[in-house]
Symmetry: C2
Subunit: 129 residues, 2 copies
DNA sequence: CTGTTTCTACGAAACTCTTCGTTGACATTA
DNA sequence: TAATGTCAACGAAGAGTTTCGTAGAAACAG
């Protein structure tokens, strides 16, 4: 059952996923602590969200111990790709070029980043041949 | 008062904005017709959304005629940039490179698109000097 | 063993989002 | 003018989101 049919995470859910991606499998307490500074998230709030996310299939819960351990089902890259594809359709009419343009101009990418992206484009052009 | 403080449009609101961007100032009927095919949106639904969007400041209403005419407050590019910046922070930790990478690989950009993007990067590198 | 802390579970409150039925005003036309 | 159609306004329903209070079980400290 179906990594591909995962729902789009909400804002609060995405914040939790980011912690899980960074830390790896974590307890509610650990996620709460990580989110408390930037978001002021309380313990029961994080717990409830993570329970909902378990129902949705966004995270997996290991409850073999009293303190349950949660981990993200989809890797960061998968979810990011889903979100980008979604935004692409909803806001850009599918034009990847327009999206990239806005991405590069909104936050000034560093010189190094630009070089990286250029390299990526070179590779894609080769493959496209 | 504050184009810059416009709230992030919801999914349904964004669909309406896209119609307004494409058609220019439009009536509820026109927006409904445009959205009915792809979304099955009913008249009162579109009306209600557009009234809410007026309250939020996303659209402007000209009610000098009996049939009101709505127009988007922010240009497509502004809103798109806002959405990209938002996604960048929420999902990519601010790494434009990662976002561009996912954008280019998720939907295969065409050869022409890649060339356009390369041109853009060239320009940005010049400016960065 | 008793009191304290830590955890999960549950439910509810407040809010937003989306949809649509109904109503009354206005316009068109027959 | 009477019937018909179009419009904005309003309210409410239903779902989803986010937050948190409370309760009970488990672990732990004295």
């Amino acid at each position: 059952m179906a990594k591909q049919n995962l729902p789009r995470p909400t804002d609060a859910e995405l914040a939790i996923l980011r912690v899980l991606w960074e830390r790896g499998p974590s307890t509610v307490r650990e996620v709460t602590d990580a989110l408390h500074e930037e978001r002021g998230t309380g313990y029961t709030t994080a717990l409830k969200l993570m329970q909902i996310m378990t129902d949705k299939g966004l995270v997996l819960r290991n409850d073999s111990q009293r303190t349950h351990v949660y981990e993200a089902v989809a890797a960061a890259e998968e979810t990011q790709q889903q979100l980008v594809r979604d935004l692409l359709e909803r806001a850009f009419g599918g034009s990847a070029q327009q999206l990239v343009l806005q991405a590069l101009s909104s936050k000034k990418a560093s010189r190094a980043e630009l070089a990286e992206i250029r390299k990526l484009i070179d590779e894609m052009e080769k493959k496209a041949k």
